[in-house]
Symmetry: C2
Amino acid sequence: MAKSDRINYTLPSGFDIELLPGEKRLEQHWLDTIRQVYERYGFTPIETPAVERIELLQAKGNQGDNIIYAITPVLPPQMQVEGDKGKDSRALKFDQTVPLAAYVARNRNELVFPFARYQMDMVFRGERAKTGRYRQFRQCDIDVVGRGSLNLLYDAQMPAIIAEIFSALQIGDFLIRINNRKVLTGFFEALGVEADQIKGCIKIIDMLEKIGVAKVKDQLLGIGVLEESCDRMITFTQIQGSVDEVLAQLQQTATELNQPETFVVGIKELDEVIQNVRLLQVPETQFCIDLSIARGLDYYTGTVYETTLLGYESLGSICSGGRYEELVGMFAQETMPGVGLSIGLTRLMRKLLDADIIQPLAASPAQVMIVNMQQELMPVYFEISQRLRQAGIKVLTGFEKKGIGKQLDRADKLGIPLCIIIGSNEHEAQICRVKVMETGEQLDIPLSDLVPQIRQLLER
Amino acid sequence: MAKSDRINYTLPSGFDIELLPGEKRLEQHWLDTIRQVYERYGFTPIETPAVERIELLQAKGNQGDNIIYAITPVLPPQMQVEGDKGKDSRALKFDQTVPLAAYVARNRNELVFPFARYQMDMVFRGERAKTGRYRQFRQCDIDVVGRGSLNLLYDAQMPAIIAEIFSALQIGDFLIRINNRKVLTGFFEALGVEADQIKGCIKIIDMLEKIGVAKVKDQLLGIGVLEESCDRMITFTQIQGSVDEVLAQLQQTATELNQPETFVVGIKELDEVIQNVRLLQVPETQFCIDLSIARGLDYYTGTVYETTLLGYESLGSICSGGRYEELVGMFAQETMPGVGLSIGLTRLMRKLLDADIIQPLAASPAQVMIVNMQQELMPVYFEISQRLRQAGIKVLTGFEKKGIGKQLDRADKLGIPLCIIIGSNEHEAQICRVKVMETGEQLDIPLSDLVPQIRQLLER
């Protein structure tokens, strides 16, 4: 076949999220770990379809200017006439928040509120592919949604969950940076910033880390904020210190400003969240108050979070979220405040793999390989394989008629820790030879005692 | 807001695959169970993106006339000019076999062959929505792919895997029906059926269970098969008996027909598969030879499987697959024979739920709920929650200021088995009251001994 006849089987741009087996096994391990922590806090799984009505996905505008992928059936010629009246009106979800709102509206009579759910589905964004940006990626989200109101303690629980997850994933030290939108908006109001400028200010402040103080100031001036206010805003967001020091300074600022209402409420909320994060035993080194955390999205109204991997600040926030009031109730037409968090798993894992912070697992889950020494002994290999599997041990039975060297080489490439070798001598003696791949060590084990001894070897 | 302003938040037709929390938890339990069995046989996970190049998905035609969904970015007005040169040339995968072929071609230098992988992704088909047909659904597939050749023992391993999965899922008795395409094509050849009619015959025979003997005969006649051949084909596919009886009858037929080559090879393969299924300890009641199993898809070349849930035959095959020669190597342009199986999980679970064969799990994974008796005791509730969580117990901490009755009612609706009640009296005495929700039983437990006693209650 000429080269020009070949089909282009490479991944389309932005969809290069495919993992090698050892990487996929690591992702699965991460998903299991994250799921376990979410469930330990009583969150229940849901999954919504990848496809929703386009008008639903656009109900609040394309959040954060996300570009939606519409889907259209490509009909084979003989079916062209049938068409599909839903054509062009379906699209792929670009986040899990709008679908959560739809799920709650669709199922609200069956759900128990506050509804604490997690969701780890793929989402799709039709943006131009840039380095580290994907057009399909997995997000691991949790949200609690109340009916009418939602206790602030749910906000305090979020950092405990983040801390437990990143500790379990063992990716190094991290810092959960907590702020409250009301602290920012209350302070801006007190400076005399116009109500219609405040959301703009928040969006600009959100870029501090990315574009730096000078450009943020330029942009604030650009939307008409007075120079003195700009300087005070920036100075405010740079306040540093222990959580107690920052809280004390906020109290002092409130006094100086004559206790402006929104600002005072924000400080009170932030204080309550922080005190309860402590009661939930999150180590003091793992969280802080950071008044520069603003979050770009419009819908946040209270607590906001970002998480930084220490020493790898350039990765950006590895887990973000916050409290919102209006979002989830939009289809149900009820007030349903919520608080949530999101881990952009696909991007995070790829970055950590590329930076050598994490390593793929073995390419195979098998713990034991049975080497095929003689085809006639296959009944023995099968019996042993099944005995080990019944004991929960993962076994790859070798079927290929290849030399022992090639078979051991395969086990090595797959990262299988133990190989079981039974030739006619071993079979006659009712033993097997076990090769420990890492050390090269070889042991003879009586077949009658195989399961406990293999277990012991796997545990050491 | 007027009713006409409301957004239609219902699921688009064919995408109504959304599960309630207890159902989703059951699906997760199924996925974990299936995964464990696949991994016990040494299969490794992969995942390919939902989106591939359209020409790749159509490389072998739309397999089984599946309609592909193309994706197109819906650009917000300010970005219209930018466009996307990949526009209209991407589509959603409709199965996992073509993507497996692409994955193998893309990563063949990194993979170890035979490559044994499982994959449990969502696939998308733009067909007209019919009852029980979905436009998005999850398939749980395994395939082993060889380079150049693949040992027949992999075919024998498949029924052992199916049997273990359906036994573990506890959905009742099932029967794995095994056949070999070469047995069918060899027999048809021996009857003098033209080479170009044989694939047509296979497709028609595949419909036996659905449309019955009379219609199958009509259709066979319709494609030009002689009436005598039709009758002999149908009689042949109706051969019944134990596997040994069927094998004996096949041998006898081979002798009568003067040992036609393909037929003889097919019988030999079928025999070898069956003998090794036995060696793999699959109970004789769980498998049989069924000469009417043909599988509709063109690409199968040897062993084929279907699985029937006994007593629920109308569900159709709950797990099917087979051996193929050409499929996986198509992009790599190598011979890569494979054998695989697929469980259509979404459809199967929905049908079994609707038929009351299986029941959803509890709506919450939480095993314990801490009742909020007094807001001031929250530090105690938090301490206890974290102590239980550190012991791996799933805890929902109640934050709402509601009466105990309402809180217990919430626990009941969520299916949480134990509630921990600590008011000021219990706190003073350093005990807690545990309510066993199923029996109504109440126990007082010293806080110092909480973890072991809760564990014991959860285990009984």
